[in-house]
Point group: D2
């Protein structure tokens, strides 16, 4: 199904060559100021054509809110959003060989196996245009999370091919222990990331190297993959479910649903699997309130007296999630993107009917590297996951708050008067 | 919510110290022979106490089917399953420091933040016992997939700490290009994997090295992580949804929902992000029917004349999934597990109330490495994902089959008489 | 949430005064011919302004398919549909008293209680315009059901106020035993129903009486309710789930979700609660294949050799559903609609703030009786329920068909060779 | 699927003759005192064998909590509950004719059509024992609703066959206008209802008449249906969704999912369809706080300062729900139950294979009238619906509360300073 989320639910529609693409967002809190100006910036960041190393199509992608707001305020009802399809040039895809040969590693063949029919453009819905609805919905989630909790979500390109922002070193086999990386997670913002367009890797040297690297692939009509790292700051603690819907499981689901993704790591990730538990365990320390950033201090939660967690961790191998539930520390993760399947080079492959092999020459205009454009999509999907978990947790917390206090603290090992709330067994 | 799957839906219950753990499995096809003997083997493989490097608790874990079958045949109604909790020794956890200090990197703290109460054993539902219901449900899914399609799901330990079954080499930076690895994926079975107990790494040398490696951590009352690789063979093509519920997204969700997981890679994974598209693209070739294994030839699908895909791929960087949909090639993925959080060593950390720091000494009996026991859990979750996708696709395929043939082939670029079904536009 | 259905899933958006209303339909089988011409007729039947006893607004309501089809054939991907809002005259509602007083029995007050904000038109989403998306989605479901199984869904006005098409008599306290009623259920079609516009009650005398009755209410600026009866013919047997999602439970859910509904009865309904079981039980008889209508004989199911049930029932108090599951007999049910809340008469009621009582005078143009316009909405919701159940059952049936035959018939009381399939225990 | 609810989710399992029946309840708020003593009373009320007019089976039905609580307090994790099956005497059903003939109006035939297999007892899951899990889950929901809001849910038998507690009269064609009925709704409690066992009709004369009436049917080995009326008092306003999941739609779904139900009416119901809008509309009046009952004053909501609605209605034709959303007035509805299908009389019907007609003689011990035992089931399902809606609304309300105040009141028609919150546009 084309639906994501249980409490904040996004349903998308649209292929490359249809009238429009769009989505319906259900579960938006009522009473929030919201206009297209809140949504367009991320739409524009997602848009191709932002530099000469991305595809030259100028899609415009103006989002139009259809419903769910009045006088610029959300009503609590579903928000329909539409982006018209323009400048699609379906003929680009309609060459002879593309009708005969399914493109290797593209969705042409599997869609046909699945549906028994296929769109003229091949995979159709596997087009990157499908992500427009996600980015629009994510922008709404983000606005709420920022207003209510001061949540900040920032993604950036952390590698292109073998060029890494933080290549593994003897001292830091995984970036999780690298103070430079950890410091970047604390401070990076989108404006800074976009200063490093077209690659969105927030480092002068790495960025320059990546630009050259990609240009090289573009010249050879080839493609290359890379990774996006994303940090979510100021997440409330307590988000995520203990079993199947652990917060990292939902993030993994969300990220692997983005076209062309191959992997997901939370916190220390695969590198952390090689670190002894005695080092990898994140010891607790008392949290220092003075460090709260402005976005948190000005949030609705702060105004409403929602208390911040009493504890934080010395290290953050966990990536802000323990036992599937957020602990209030920054959540960070990395997403791997494969090289784009559609390339200009000739490819030798079989025809749809398996009868013969031949040469497929793609003629479309395609990104040599999709990673920089994936940055706002990663941010959007992260926002959708966190928003859904926030609404679930708000319900649980409010439900509990209406219960009478327990008559006794039960877990007798815990000394009385230790400052833990009466309900803490 | 404690529910997984849309069409084949598992709901689990249970913590470490309650009466029983179990699950309800809804959507099991009717008319399948099923008794506890079909389920117990994977329960036993999951069970701790299988060797001196896993925890010595002898939990027995006998599964009891409560409903949904009669005379050993499934009725199509929900199957309730229960495993009684025995030999739990709650006192093991009840020492004084464990009541004062949340265990670092465990779920104690986040559960308290989430629920405002906590089980005496800390995270409670974050216990590995929660996975019992998953394994029981997975065994049912597996049986169906085997009978209906000849699907084979086999997982094994691919690394422990820095000991890798296929360490990266200059020639093969990622195992995806290593012929030894690819050949192993084609042939590995569970019996072979269990010949290499206690580590379940199907290689004499690597296995021995891992045993020594883990023993070393055990001695130091420390823990270490590792990775599990899983292959799913003979998957029908066409499984998975094009957008949010891509097959790899559901697999990622499923795997990251297993306790202690840190990462997921499908096919070439993160390594594939560094390979040029011109190499990474999996060219199509005609499939050779003669190669079908016995499990497929004897399956219900074969009996029913369900045709196998006409095409396969020369290479399999994609890991059997393209555009979110299975292409019939083996699906393989890797899951990273962190070192277990509970260790025997003393740990310096803060009290629940943040008032002071002190020393927490865990006294429970714990696995120094959870990876070998995770093998059947990974298999179970993989089975649940594939089973859910199979039911979804069966509905779609059957729905289509009742429609009248289209009056024309529409995508005129495709020559007539090319063997593609009339519906293939 | 604004979503209906698990397998055939409709999500709607839109209020009275926003840019457009519409929906996304997910789960549409691929390979079905579908254009706006398939959808518009029901949209037009739903449209106000069809006669002088319904509201004079001319909303046009042209549906535009946005996605999910190409060259007039469904792709299997979500179908987005949009209907622009025109001629809405928001000022009609903006009079002074309507801002001060919540309209009695309307959604103005409860929406404000729910959301803390309200649309300028009061309930906003409670507007009948919200049903546009449902009708559009229902038309797609209907087309599939007709092509695949020959399903026919026809609703009609069965009462307006105290004017009943089949008033209770001594001989027939409930229409379920009335041969005239049962014969009408067998033959009624939409064309006939629309011959009795504006009330859509397919009987000359009753129709005329109802027209006069409604005109009387219109004159007095009052409103009146009524009932719609709906029959679904040629439904496959086996639809519906045994427990929470019984087919009649889903129908009840669907019907009570239509604005202004007050009750739902399946088959003999409330009247049947007064009939002894010995009479009410529907005895089985062998089904006569010769009676199959053309729509069934030409359906995909017939072409595919899907067999019709071996049995049918002598009577049909059950309304085609037993134990929550369809038995192949006609499904029929009745839905009650209250008098429309918005009336032209003055009403004495309290202000929003409860401070004072006064007089609210509605000025909008409103239906004195919504029942005739509800007819296509009832049909649409019925189609959505049946379609969802069909997809669920197709998956189950196909899943079973791939299992090996059972080694024995188990329920030994059943004699061998009785023609029941081997799997029938 | 055997799952009910989105936020408070119940999944049940079990047939008549399996090891146990039970359920898993997910979404229970943490920190609530809960033991089996809270659940058993309703289990016992549901149990057969409470008098000589219900079935003499003594099923005991002791509920055992498996998980989700510790030291008598909910943990917030899923609560597994099990009730063992005893004294089932499967042979009772195993007579020769029952294997040959599907019982008329029972689920035997449709289950076989659906699943291709059937339980030896016929419909299996269509047994009334399946409702045990619902009643157990409902008891948990009820406890929360009472503690948090003072909600009271009471159902009673309102008719058996043609014996009505409030038969229609010239003055009161529908009980909604009958002051006696409305006064009963305000005061009735379960203790009073059970004073009128075995029929649970809270009126001396009507009760006596019903007992005689049922005995008559019992003697003739026949069965008879009836209706249950249910009232839900002290429901918070704002519950229910505006579109598909209107509160009455969920109630209808819940009620029609109870075995043997034929109809559902909310508020004035079908009778209300014959009342002019000018009378049927429920005018608003200021609510009088002094009237709050003790259960509300002592509730968590009262302690937390959650304000009660400012308005109430003079009449209550709406049954407490307007536009699909609760308005704070008592919710009341009526559910119709058909005569039980299994009767002792001989019935002439066809064999499973349609080959011949013959006589089926049922030998089981069965209720001549299921209505009195349905009373706690109706209460349970009502509790599940309200609880689910409460959690949804708590999330929405809390989400809104963290947003900044709007900069202006927007709907200019509303005078400033009218006491409506700033957010009320």
């Amino acid at each position: 199904m084309s639906t994501f989320g249980d409490h904040f639910r996004v349903t998308t529609y649209g292929e490359s060559h249809c009238r429009s693409v769009g989505c319906i967002v259900d579960g938006v809190p009522p009473g929030m100021e919201l206009t297209e100006e809140d949504i367009q910036p991320q739409m524009t960041r997602r848009r191709p054509g932002q530099s000469n190393i991305t595809t030259p199509r100028d899609e415009k992608d103006r989002v139009l809110i259809q419903s769910g707001t009045e006088f610029g305020v959300t009503l609590g009802t579903p928000i329909g959003m539409v982006v018209l399809n323009q400048d699609q040039r379906p003929k680009d895809y309609g060459n002879k060989t593309m009708d005969l040969y399914p493109r290797p590693s593209h969705a042409d063949w599997t869609y046909l196996e699945k549906y028994g029919v296929k769109a003229s453009s091949g995979g159709g819905r596997s087009s990157a245009r499908e992500t427009i609805g996600r980015v629009a919905a994510g922008a709404i989630a983000e606005k709420y999370l920022r207003l209510a909790y001061g949540v900040e979500i920032v993604a950036f390109t952390s590698s292109v091919g073998s060029c890494h922002l933080y290549p593994p070193t003897a001292a830091h086999p995984s970036p999780s222990t690298n103070p430079e990386f950890l410091s970047l997670l604390q401070s990076i913002d989108r404006k800074t990331v976009d200063n490093y367009l077209p690659v969105r890797c927030p480092d002068e040297a790495a960025s320059k190297k990546m630009v050259d690297y990609i240009s090289d692939f573009k010249e050879r009509e080839d493609s290359i993959g890379g990774t996006v790292t994303c940090v979510i700051r100021n997440v409330p603690s307590g988000l995520g479910e203990p079993c199947f819907d652990k917060l990292e499981a939902k993030l993994a689901h969300a990220m692997l649903s983005i076209p062309a993704t191959k992997g997901f790591e939370i916190g220390s990730g695969f590198g952390g699997c090689e670190v002894p538990g005695s080092i990898h365990n994140d010891a607790f320390v008392a949290a220092a309130d003075s460090e709260l950033p402005a976005s948190v201090l000005e949030s609705g939660a702060a105004r409403s007296g929602v208390s911040r967690p009493r504890l934080t961790t010395k290290t953050n191998y966990s990536g802000g999630i323990q036992g599937g539930i957020s602990n209030g520390a920054p959540i960070y993760f990395r997403v791997g993107f494969k090289p784009a399947a559609t390339i200009g080079q000739e490819q030798r492959t079989a025809t749809y009917d398996g009868g013969s092999e031949g040469v497929l020459a793609a003629k479309g205009r395609h990104d040599p590297c999709v990673v920089p454009r994936a940055v706002p999509i990663v941010e959007a999907m992260a926002a959708l996951v966190v928003m859904d978990a926030v609404l679930a947790q708000q319900a649980r917390h409010t439900a509990k708050s209406l219960l009478p206090p327990l008559k006794q603290t039960i877990n007798s090992g815990m000394p009385a008067g230790n400052g833990v709330t009466e309900a803490a067994l």
